[in-house]
């Protein structure tokens, strides 16, 4: 096992752990009060005008019909094409679209290389770019996608950096990390271009790396350009879970647990809420004066007058 093996294993493990920890922490926060925001796309037959089941007389007597396809119809264009930015902030759209879509392309190629590497490790296929076999052609195609993704990502990162520096509204709200993040993403793309541009065996090597990782066998021989790119990617992978870039998955929660979360109290939610109402309150304003002694039910059933004494 090489140092590269160790670094990749460690980074991947750290990434997964941190994402799981973060996800669990969010998932475990208490049930909150309803705070949905319309349009809610799973409202069958009503999403188009932003309506809800509350538009029906005696709404509680009607069955709840959820249109999950409706959610997908909103989510897919949002994730792939950043539709909301296009609509509400068109000046920023191309830059951020290029940044994100470039990155998605790299991630896509990585996923395919991973699969190729796994199959190669299992002895099912041999990934060799350039030959005329189906796998060779697929490898070539994905090499081009990688190349394109790198160019798009680099353009996006540079344009975003430009916006961050020269658009006063954006600059004012930027912290050092914004520049660093974009710099890092730009570096991934640019180093990727160098690698794919200089390595005739790019596809073979890319899949070979994964094959070596899966089977804990020696790595293919990698150029300085390849190592450069891999190093930056690993740094990014380790760094990302500690930043706002976790939005790539927490968006699931902001949408499905808040914006579109419109359920009435059902199942074990009732018990959870009861337990939450039983918690002691320490808000200190005179009309509450919780002092860590009263619980939420005490507060809600008092008038607020007696608290002052």
């Amino acid at each position: 096992m090489s140092i590269l093996h160790l670094l990749v294993y460690a980074s991947a493990l750290l990434f997964v752990i941190m994402i799981v920890v973060r996800g669990m922490r969010i998932a475990r926060t208490p049930v909150h009060l309803r705070w949905e925001l319309y349009p809610v796309p799973h409202e069958k037959g009503r999403a188009d005008h932003g309506g809800s089941r509350l538009e029906q007389i005696d709404w509680w007597t009607h069955p709840i019909e959820k249109d999950h396809l409706g959610e997908l119809k909103v989510m897919v264009p949002e994730i792939l094409f950043l539709k909301a930015v296009k609509e509400h902030n068109p000046k920023l759209w191309f830059a951020t679209f290029a940044l994100h879509f470039g990155l998605y392309m790299l991630i896509g190629v990585m996923a395919v290389a991973m699969l190729g590497g796994l199959l190669q490790g299992l002895g099912v296929i041999t990934v060799a770019a350039g030959n005329e076999s189906a796998i060779g052609i697929i490898a070539k195609v994905f090499q081009y996608i990688f190349q394109l993704g790198c160019i798009l990502g680099a353009v996006g990162a540079i344009l975003m950096l430009y916006k961050r520096i020269f658009d006063s509204g954006m600059r004012l709200y930027a912290t050092p990390s914004h520049f660093f993040n974009l710099f890092l993403m730009g570096a991934i793309s640019i180093s990727g271009t160098f690698w794919v541009g200089s390595d005739p065996n790019f596809a073979t090597n890319f899949a070979g790396i994964y094959s070596a990782l899966f089977t804990v066998s020696p790595m293919p021989e990698l150029s300085a350009q390849a190592l450069n790119h891999i190093g930056i990617v690993l740094l990014f992978v380790v760094y990302l879970p500690f930043t706002h870039m976790t939005h790539f998955f927490t968006k699931y929660f902001t949408y499905h647990q808040v914006r579109w979360e419109d359920s009435n109290v059902v199942g074990k939610m009732g018990d959870q809420l009861a337990a939450q109402l039983d918690q002691k309150v320490s808000w200190g304003a005179p009309h509450i004066n919780g002092g860590g002694k009263k619980n939420w039910v005490d507060i809600a059933t008092s008038s607020g007058k007696e608290e002052k004494n």
């Binding site: 538009e55 930015v85 706002h244 968006k251 809420l273 939450q276 320490s282 939420w296 059933t301 607020g304």
Partner: protein, 538 residues
């Protein structure tokens, strides 16, 4: 429209003492159509009373919503800062803020600062893009405080990721005011691709001040929820006063309509417990009057409650304080249980809708169902035996969507179906429905009028709505001879629209009137010999 490049207020400026960080400039705001386009012909912007800045904390901009006295000593200031930080701590604890902790932390930790949300804010736009009113500005302040004081982790790394801020009294006193320069309309939240909600962040900021420091506008707290819980209504009306008033309304309605109107009180086992915003009884008595007439005519078994709080659907707690919110909601639900009604129907009041309709759902589960008056009215108009003559409503009508009803509850179509059927000249505003603009009186602003706050709210927060209303009628005779009706099925929105029309002289200049939905329904009822709406009395 000439928007000059202003000096951008930074996070650092926000904590640095200075006289003011923003002021309203009529030259830089959005233009209104004629005859409201000549600045010199409008009443102008009333400045704060002399000496205000010496007595009160007023260094944010050129108005005050809360206006707390300046601390007398350094020690007092320090105590206030400590209290704020305690509040900040409570805000991020699951015991004290389970109610909103998840959406709040999600919004704190994932904003990309891309500013995609900002152009959707009517306040930011109408202010001429004053930096401090940008939806992301106050959110950024709270975010930095959160990372600095509440979130664990390496200090340097946090600074690198999230920036820094100084929590001093200057900043905190400004933040208090700034939390009352956003109507919680959540229009910005709709456009955020990440799902961050800057309206919610404002709401949570207000909670730190109210729930820990006891600081809130007196209209919302002392005269609002406190008075409601003690006397029965935020209007100050006790049971005797409200019953007297309603008796008078019944008589008046009977006179005007020729149909005997008799409000029912405390009928046990009624199908419907109707809860109005009690402001209606005083300011727009024909609204509860029309409800009484309509429900009786439709043969619905209904009642009002004369119990403490039972006759006032207002719940200002929704805007600033979870404890007050729960107390008022609890009273409403208890009363409904006591009366053994089948359902509560929420009158024409947007925030009552949201507080009772969705928020209370998880405070006290398993209670009596709540329904919107919009759906009940729709049902009556389309499914009862009553007959209507739309010709009686043959004047231009547009519809204002209360944010709480539309954006936060998805109640959009019922009121439109009614208008499409009963108002031949109904036309939409642009945009409308869930993408509407707030009236500018949201989150309690409509009842706040201390010092010169009304000026700010009619010229800044309500300006976009006023323009929208004018635009909706741009195809008809602009003069006062053609009466135009803005249907606003919400007491708070009506209060704000009243103030807008008064300030701009819109009734005299443009024939603009406003009212609820039920009035239009009753106006077209064939049961009445004549139309009910009397423009002179509006």
């Amino acid at each position: 429209m000439a928007i000059k490049t202003k000096k951008r207020v930074t996070m650092k400026d926000f904590s640095t003492p200075s006289e003011s960080l923003a002021e309203f400039d009529p030259e830089e705001t959005i233009d209104l159509p004629a005859p409201y386009d000549k600045i010199e012909e409008l009443p102008g912007y009333k400045q704060m009373k002399e000496g205000t800045r010496d007595r009160l904390e007023a260094s944010l901009d050129d108005t005050i919503a809360v206006g707390i006295p300046k601390p007398e000593s350094k020690e007092e200031e320090e105590k206030l800062v400590e209290a704020f930080l305690r509040g900040l701590h409570n805000l991020f604890s699951k015991e004290n803020n389970w109610t909103f902790l998840q959406p709040l932390t999600l919004s704190m930790e994932h904003c990309a600062r891309c500013q995609t949300c900002v152009d959707d804010c009517p306040i930011y736009e109408a202010s001429g893009k004053e930096e401090i009113y940008r939806p992301t500005f106050r959110a950024e302040v709270l975010r930095r405080l959160y990372y600095k004081y509440e979130k664990g982790g390496n200090k340097l790394f946090k600074k690198f990721q999230q920036g820094d801020i100084d929590a001093n009294w200057t900043m905190i006193s400004r933040l208090l005011e700034l939390s009352y320069r956003c109507t919680l309309c959540r229009r910005c939240a709709q456009s955020c691709p990440i799902g961050v909600d800057n309206g919610l962040i404002t709401h949570e900021l207000r909670k730190i001040f109210s729930m820990e420091m006891g600081l809130a506008p007196k209209e919302l707290h002392e005269k609002g929820t406190v008075q409601q819980l003690e006397v029965g209504s935020s209007t100050g009306m006790n049971k005797v006063a409200v019953m007297d008033n309603v008796e008078f309304i019944d008589e008046d309605m009977t006179d005007r309509s020729g149909i005997k109107v008799e409000t029912k009180w405390d009928v046990e086992g009624a199908d419907v417990l109707l809860i109005h915003n009690a402001g209606e009884f005083l300011a727009w008595p024909e609204n509860p009057g029309c409800f009484a007439l309509l429900l009786d005519a439709a043969g619905i078994s209904w009642t009002l409650s004369s119990d403490l709080v039972g006759y006032d659907g207002v719940n200002y707690g929704l805007f600033y304080d979870d404890a007050q919110l729960a107390r008022v909601a609890m009273k409403h639900l208890d009363i409904a249980k006591k009366l053994k009604v089948k359902k509560i129907v929420m009158g024409e009041c947007g925030h009552e809708h949201k507080a009772l309709g969705v928020i209370a759902d998880r405070i006290f589960s398993g209670s009596i169902p709540r329904e919107s008056a919009m759906t009940l009215m729709e049902d009556i108009v389309f499914n009862s035996n009553l007959e209507f003559d739309p010709e009686r409503n043959d004047f231009p009508v547009t519809l204002h969507d209360p944010c709480n009803m539309a954006r936060s509850m998805g109640i959009v179509e019922p009121q439109r179906r009614v208008l499409r059927k009963l108002a031949p000249q109904f036309r939409e505003m642009t945009p409308h429905g869930v993408r509407n603009y707030c009236c500018g009186g949201g989150s309690g602003f409509a009842i706040m009028s201390g010092n010169n706050f009304t000026d700010w709210r009619v010229q800044v927060s309500g300006r976009k709505k006023f323009k929208q209303i004018l635009d909706a009628f741009s195809d008809v005779d602009p003069g006062p001879e053609t009466k135009k009706y803005v249907c606003a099925p919400c007491s708070n929105c009506k209060g704000q629209i009243r103030d807008l029309f008064e300030y701009y002289g819109a009734t005299e200049k443009s024939g603009l009137y406003y009212g609820g939905l039920v009035e239009l329904i009753v106006n077209s009822m064939k049961l009445l010999k004549e139309p009910f709406i009397d423009w002179e009395m509006m």
